[in-house]
Symmetry: C2
Subunit: 652 residues, 2 copies
């Protein structure tokens, strides 16, 4: 038999991810709303508090919970810092509040309550014995000297009620398990990423660009409105079995090799490729980026070329075959002889884990606060959970982006165990129904609590078919979808130039022809047909409209044409709507429906619509609105205002 | 840093109630299907087993789990006994299966796999070292003496695969928490209840009936097709502040008092009211009921009259007021001076708990295997969880019905913590939309895992307004709804007589006029207008159609009239449909739609419909079907058969 019993049930706590196994995620400045079903048998009054503290603190802060309806309670607390907070709920039977409610009913019914007053005094006395609160002693003294009416007034007073509420009997309270919320900085939720392939940022076609060349591009990238510059690995590259242009099996004598073939005699994951410059120059590039209000995200790819120094220094971290040769990466029957994977089953797995953590911390020391993690889904989940925590416990500002294009549950698990952001299926979602279905999953279902999408319109490895076939209209349309469906999005350099030549026949591959992954390259960053004006304007619109800086406020609205996607985001007074023609080959006209009922605009009330890409303003009435989206202008972005709130010279 | 790491994730286990806090429920003969998301990083082969055993056994049985799709796995195990079973999932990386899959791909691609064979031998050797399985030793010997082709054939053979699967390396497997399923006997799910008010089963208007009188009614109740006879408390009744007829404040000299005023000088909860007979005669009644294939459910009401022996024997279990008087039950400003509640906060709460458990065990010893628990929601949840377990650990056949007409989450919690069955809101759900909504919650949502409804059409305390106003058509309609929506249902005696006189103006109360709760009464069990033929036929139909013996197979179907409710249940080949006119005052004609697509009947294929209340048979074609439901025959129950499967002389 148990030693005591709790008589309050607390269940269905929100947010609580997988029974508290993983933290949920929020951002600095948010407020965490916590909900739970809380009840007791019978009809006694229940009190409940939301307890919360920064992880590691010993004292809890407490916020009174309120009954919403149907035994569901809530409270909230602020998340001002980039750290982790703990929270829990505690509830107990409030004997005095129960007494006070009941005596009120009896007094109203005209009953004599002398005995009840004595009972009430007993409850106060008990509270005083527990708490030694002097104000309670004084209440008891007052009670002794008072007559019936005075005693009644005293014990029913708001003062005594609040005194008693401050001294509850929590000896048999129910407390939930302690839950965690990871509070990341704002960039975790909101930012525009530019994937810069370092070696192609210069002007000489036969050699690598350098950190200095890259720095020269910063004014333009800043002008385009990006927040993050993502670099593929910057480390020395192996020569054994190095791949040639267009992923040829053998490299030519001048081919630089894939930057993912990490490690050579010149160093491994903590070294900088000499062609790019020195470590000091890298730090200079990081600083120059920061001075322009941007920051650098670095690739973190756990794999090695056969020339990586680790193989000699730590052969115990690799797997050797019965004939003494090292085991190359493979996806049978394919073999990747330019890459070896570490052996996660190594006897010295702890040393291996520590080394990778130290690599991360090394780059954090160099000023890198964002890592784009290559293929995390092929490394143990437990490693990531540990390593991310190891870094964030001293550097909570560090952001990890999971590049896991894999099965949905694996992607989601990486997000649960700690990745700050995730690559997504957006890159392959083209049709209206599949975009709506996928975005509804990301913004309305459980993933919204822990998985932050980063919508890449392309990457150095992915030239989606829609861009291959759809050309410039598709580039504009996919840019706007990425940048407005998700608060974090990215493009890989060349996107702004509408580069869409695949390696092979269109529609049969997602790789780029003559990709700088395998060769030197020089881009004309102003070549005809580029969409830089669009990129610049879209990023400007994102900065000017807070609604676009959030994820879960996304709502899809009616559009009568199945090629027209219509959706909106609203935060406070800021309401932005996007109409996108998903068909890059044909114009589509459609009615769309503004949710006037959400905007406080009556169906017969005039309102102002500003199309933000063109700057044109219109006055309209009624929720139905007509859009014509031609391939040359496939997207419109509307900001809505009540006519009466604008003072722009137009008749309201 | 952890000492080792698991590399398999098992999540979203089904069924798992509140993170494993409570067992789910099933019945003897069921099979428990268990599902989970199971995955590992990368592309290795995973193996998983469902472990299961009777609670208390030390050894697990294991059933191989299968991948269904999208990383979701399943397996099932049988539940042959009335007990509790434990289950858990264990999963591990299957190194040999991974090796076997990969070598297959390499061989198909024509690669030499000598090294792979040596690696495969190493895996077999490791398994032998762990398991000492002689068959593995023999495999290794064979391997040594074989050439390349023979080695390949050997290690790729089904024999070695199954040998290796039988000797897995589970040293780093992931195991879920252990979950529980309570397996009750069939009566927990399926049964027709007849609430018999003991004192009114006789023929003398001025005195109580006896167990002997009650026994005389058994043939009739058996003939009507009931399975359970529920008795209100049979204990001595207090005289202090006893209530009179129609709940009058004072009893007259001959008024027997409410049977819920339990306890007098003649005994308490372990005694039998002398007016009814002796304890031995009660056992006789229980036995006579069992001989007719029925069983007795006894009321268990934790409350006492002011004359209950406990008050003298155990004053520590009650609360006394500052003036020394006992605290009566109250719901301020109302006072119930004929009832005292026990003090659950008593210093001797453990003694109190044990006593109530012993009361239950006492009646179990007398042959009672079903308890209808009065107002459990006003007693501590923790007590019920403990007490039900205390009884069921030695008497798993005991069924507890929760009479908690209270807030939804409290009702559901009582079911979670152990009540076998629950009274429901059915008694107050009259309109089509609310019946569909409520039944969908009960049959499709989480409650189906732990809450078994018992649909009472009336009780001794509840004469619903629909019966007060709707008369005989309403009685027939509500009978059929209760008996076919839920596999367990009940009526209170008098229902079959369409007794519907309220205490006061119709529609202002749910109490019966001149209720036997407060007075002696004699019924004419064959009085004109009774619906006993309906009751008998409905119970017969329930027994003849297994589909009606289940809950979660309920599906609502289209009926064009909002007063017509149309639904069906299908189990195996047995498919039964009910069309009910919810309006007792008017006839309603409507199209209803049989789900032919679920029955394997084509839209143009003839089928046979048998109306089970009248016995008439029709041949029909097409899913649309016309029903006319007049007040005098407000319900039709159809059994569907494919025309080709029936051999009844009708043309198919």
């Amino acid at each position: 038999m148990q030693e005591t019993f709790q008589n309050i049930v607390i269940e269905d706590v929100y947010p609580e991810l997988d029974c508290g196994r993983y933290p949920v995620k929020r951002e600095v400045g948010d407020r965490l709303e916590v909900w739970a079903d809380i009840f007791k048998e019978g009809h006694d009054v229940v009190s409940a508090v939301l307890k919360h503290r920064e992880e590691g603190e010993s004292a809890w802060s407490e916020t009174q919970m309120r009954l919403f309806e149907n035994d569901r309670w809530n409270a909230a607390f602020d998340l001002p810092k980039n750290t982790r907070y703990e929270y829990a709920i505690e509830a107990w039977h409030d004997e005095f509040a129960t007494w006070r409610r009941d005596i009120g009913k009896k007094v109203e019914a005209g009953q004599n309550v002398s005995l009840e007053l004595t009972e009430g005094r007993g409850i106060v006395k008990g509270a005083h014995e527990r708490s030694k609160d002097k104000r309670l002693a004084s209440t008891l003294t007052t009670f002794e000297e008072a007559d019936y009416a005075e005693r009644l007034a005293l014990l029913r007073s708001a003062e005594v009620a609040s005194l008693m509420a401050a001294n509850p009997d929590r000896s048999r309270s129910t407390v939930t398990r302690t839950l965690l919320v990871t509070v990341d900085r704002e960039r975790a939720r909101y930012g525009a990423w530019y994937e810069m392939f370092h070696r192609s940022q210069g002007t000489a076609p036969d050699k690598s660009a350098t950190f200095a060349d890259m720095e020269k591009r910063l004014p333009e990238i800043e002008d385009l409105g990006f927040d993050v510059i993502y670099l593929v690995p910057i480390h020395p590259i192996g020569t054994t079995n190095r791949k040639g242009r267009n992923n040829a099996v053998f490299a030519g004598p001048v081919d630089p090799g894939s930057p993912y073939g990490i490690g050579s005699a010149e160093g491994g994951h903590k070294a900088v490729h000499p062609d790019l410059g020195t470590l000091e120059e890298f730090r200079g590039f990081v600083g120059a980026t920061r001075e322009r209000g941007m920051e650098v995200a670095l690739d973190f790819a756990i794999q090695a070329s056969p020339d990586h120094p680790y193989i000699k220094e730590h052969p115990e971290w690799f797997r050797f075959r019965p004939d003494g040769t090292i085991k190359f990466a493979e996806n049978p029957p394919k073999k990747y002889q330019d890459i070896v994977n570490v052996d996660w089953e190594s006897e010295d797995w702890e040393g291996l884990w520590r080394e990778w953590r130290d690599v991360l911390l090394f780059w954090v020391e160099q000023g890198v606060k964002i890592f784009r993690v290559d293929n995390p889904h092929t490394k143990p989940f437990a490693f990531w959970e540990w390593a991310i925590r190891e870094v964030q416990k001293d550097h909570p500002e560090v952001i990890f982006l999971s590049e896991a294009f894999t099965r949905p549950k694996v992607m989601r698990n990486l997000a649960k165990l700690g990745f700050t952001q995730s690559y997504t299926y957006f890159t392959w979602r083209n049709h209206k129904h599949e975009i709506i279905e996928y975005l509804t999953e990301l913004t309305k279902d459980w993933p919204k609590e822990y998985m932050r999408p980063n919508f890449f319109a392309n990457t150095h490895d992915i030239l989606p078919h829609i861009l291959q076939f759809g050309g410039r209209p598709a580039f504009i349309m996919r840019l706007v979808l990425a940048a407005t469906l998700s608060p974090t999005y990215g493009i890989y350099n060349g996107y702004e130039l509408c580069e869409n030549t695949p390696r092979g026949e269109r529609g049969t591959t997602v790789y780029y022809q003559d990709s700088e992954v395998y060769e030197y390259k020089v881009w004309d960053w102003n070549r005809p047909g580029n969409i830089k004006d669009y990129v610049r304007r879209v990023n400007e619109i994102r900065r000017e409209n807070v609604a676009l800086q959030e994820l879960t406020n996304l709502e899809f609205h009616e559009a009568w044409d199945d090629n027209v996607l219509f959706y909106g985001k609203k935060t406070g007074d800021n309401a932005v709507f996007v109409a996108a023609n998903l068909d890059p080959h044909n114009a589509h006209d459609s009615h769309v429906r503004f949710p006037l009922w959400d905007l406080g605009i009556a169906e017969d009330e005039p309102y102002i619509v500003e199309e933000l890409l063109s700057g044109r303003k219109m006055q309209a009435t009624g929720s139905l609105f007509w859009v014509r989206l031609a391939p040359q202008a496939p997207v419109e972005i509307f900001r809505m205002e009540k006519a009466s709130t604008v003072n722009d010279g137009m008749d309201a």
